[in-house]
């Protein structure tokens, strides 16, 4: 398999503050790769270095085997970027947004027109092609940004929080489109705050915090490693229960008013716990990526 992204010891400092600290990872062709982390963890900074928006302070950054410092133009011609902010051009119509953007890639007029029509069709925006960007709903604007990021038939798609602020319907629609794109073998790197999104879409992901990579693996693998097989949440645990959990060495987080138990496959002590302590205040559920995320990055508010 060939490597699409290869970064080594990538570091970015702003006025002495280290936003990204010696990050290294690589992404193979066809992989849907997630970059997760709390606000301020360095996700967007990493992403911006990946598409050549900001230069790294240190480290190497190779995409398609080329050095971003030297071959930035050839690299950027082959990637698509869906930025976090709405960067659609409000002075242009929906269709013009695509056609003018194609121009930035030096695409011939005829090809640009065809590609624009194709993408409007794929993202169900045909009926809005002459609308002003300002008239679009949040979901439609997001789809148009996605469409625009695909205008140059990229080999690598970079998505920075593609579904933030969307209603559930729009979000699911975006996911379906991204899954369709994934089937075509497109390599994708995504940042998101929605663990459900990451679990559903990503083949592999890293969780970053304070500019460092904490863990790296597939969603399933990370859940197994860091959040046990299933979870028991107990509201208002009493002393006896906490002592029992500690005595049995069951992995847990004590949040004061709530106790979270990470239960491995071996169910013995848990069954006993259920019999002895749980009447109505226990919730049994499967472990999720969100449990992994919170365990690794802590529960304190950021920013």
């Amino acid at each position: 398999m060939d490597t699409i992204i290869e970064i080594q010891n990538l570091t970015k400092q702003f006025d002495g503050f280290t936003a990204v600290n010696e990050i290294s990872f690589s992404v193979e062709r066809g992989v849907f790769f997630g970059l997760l982390g709390p606000n301020g963890a360095g996700k967007t900074t990493t992403i911006r270095m990946l598409y050549g928006f900001i230069p790294p302070t240190r480290g190497t950054l190779r995409i398609f085997g080329m050095d971003m410092k030297v071959d930035f133009r050839r690299i950027k011609a082959r990637i698509g970027v869906c930025q976090q902010d709405n960067t659609l051009d409000p002075d242009l119509t929906v269709e013009q947004n695509l056609r003018v953007f194609a121009g930035y890639f030096s695409m011939p007029r005829k090809e640009a027109d065809e590609r624009s029509r194709e993408l409007l069709d794929f993202f169900a925006l045909d009926h809005k092609k002459d609308a002003k960007v300002m008239e679009l709903s949040g979901g439609m604007a997001r789809r148009l940004i996605l469409a625009r990021s695909l205008i140059n038939r990229p080999e690598l798609l970079i998505l920075d929080e593609p579904t933030t602020g969307l209603d559930p319907q729009s979000r699911h629609q975006v996911w379906e489109k991204l899954e369709e794109l994934k089937e075509t073998g497109l390599t994708v790197i995504i940042t998101t705050h929605y663990m459900e999104e990451a679990s559903r879409l990503c083949d592999r992901l890293v969780i970053v915090d304070h500019g460092k990579i904490l863990v790296d693996g597939s969603p399933r693998n990370l859940i197994d490693r860091y959040a046990g097989n299933s979870i028991i949440e107990i509201e208002g645990p009493d002393r006896a229960l906490i002592d029992y959990v500690k005595g049995q060495n069951i992995e847990h987080d004590d949040l004061g008013r709530r106790l979270i138990l990470y239960v491995p496959e071996n169910k013995d002590p848990v069954d006993r716990l259920r019999d002895r302590f749980c009447s109505e205040k226990c919730i049994y559920r499967n472990s999720t990526l969100e449990d992994v995320f919170l365990r690794l990055t802590g529960r304190e508010l950021r920013e």
Partner: protein
């Protein structure tokens, strides 16, 4: 400091984007250069002419209206390009994040900035062309030499577009453009030999006027319109060239510092 690889003809794609947007509103934009010279000529030619005698300029005895008419083109060049790269570019950069979107493509920031400056000069040249037709009809411009006002307007537009872009690079908020307009553009509009010859200014103020880029553009404008001027055209062209290159470099530096940390 400036990477030569950052420049390519691709900047024309950004220029074209601005043209596509302009085509939507050209009918409104068309009216200003058409009516503005008419208003000035009416106000000064009809209203003022009784109060002011003829103006002695470059060895010619000119009616006041004939004196100011060519300078109107120079001031229009200034207003058009300066406004385009200050308010226009600031809105695109800051509020619309248009540059951010462009930077996710093979375009470089340098190309975007150059395109914005060249676009502002294009608008200036367009306005000058319309004004030229109006002033030509009144007989204030001699032809065919007057046609050179069009490339001159483009050239002058580059100079004022470049300094406008520099202000955009260093201005924290859009309201702050009042400052360069109040301190730089308006005094220049009034005191650069536009509405009266610089020789009428007190001695100490004359060198100040000669440093103003609008003075040199108004000089060139008169030279191409009526064939005479106070300062040799080669000096004016030289001065504006240095001014243009200097502020383009400053603008590129300021914008890089502002947008790419």
């Amino acid at each position: 400091m400036i990477d030569p690889n950052a420049f390519s003809w691709r900047f024309l794609r950004v220029w074209r984007r601005n043209l596509v947007v302009y085509q939507k509103i050209w009918k409104v934009n068309f009216l200003t250069p058409l009516f503005e010279p008419l208003f000035y000529i009416l106000a000064f030619g009809v209203g003022f002419s009784g109060l002011i005698g003829n103006v002695n300029y470059g060895g010619l005895d000119l009616s006041y209206t004939a004196f100011i008419a060519p300078a109107l083109i120079a001031t229009a060049v200034m207003w058009n390009s300066f406004f385009e790269t200050t308010y226009g570019s600031f809105v695109r950069m800051y509020y619309q994040k248009t540059f951010d979107g462009m930077l996710a493509t093979p375009l470089t920031l340098e190309e975007i900035i150059v395109a914005e400056i060249v676009w502002s000069a294009t608008k200036s040249a367009g306005a000058a062309t319309i004004m030229l037709a109006v002033l030509g009809l009144f007989g204030f411009v001699q032809f065919p030499a007057g046609l050179l006002l069009i490339p001159m307007a483009f050239f002058g537009g580059l100079a004022f577009g470049a300094i406008g872009m520099y202000f955009t690079g260093i201005t924290p908020t859009i309201d702050m453009f009042n400052l360069p307009i109040f301190l730089f553009v308006t005094p220049m509009f009034l005191f650069s030999g536009t509405f009266f010859p610089v020789s009428n200014l007190p001695g100490w103020a004359q060198p100040v006027a000669l440093v103003m880029p609008l003075y040199h553009l108004a000089e060139l404008s008169r030279f191409f319109s009526i064939g005479t001027c106070e300062t040799a055209p080669v000096i004016s062209i030289g001065y504006l060239t240095v001014f243009l290159l200097f502020f383009t470099l400053l603008a590129l530096r300021a914008m890089r510092k502002r947008l790419i940390q």
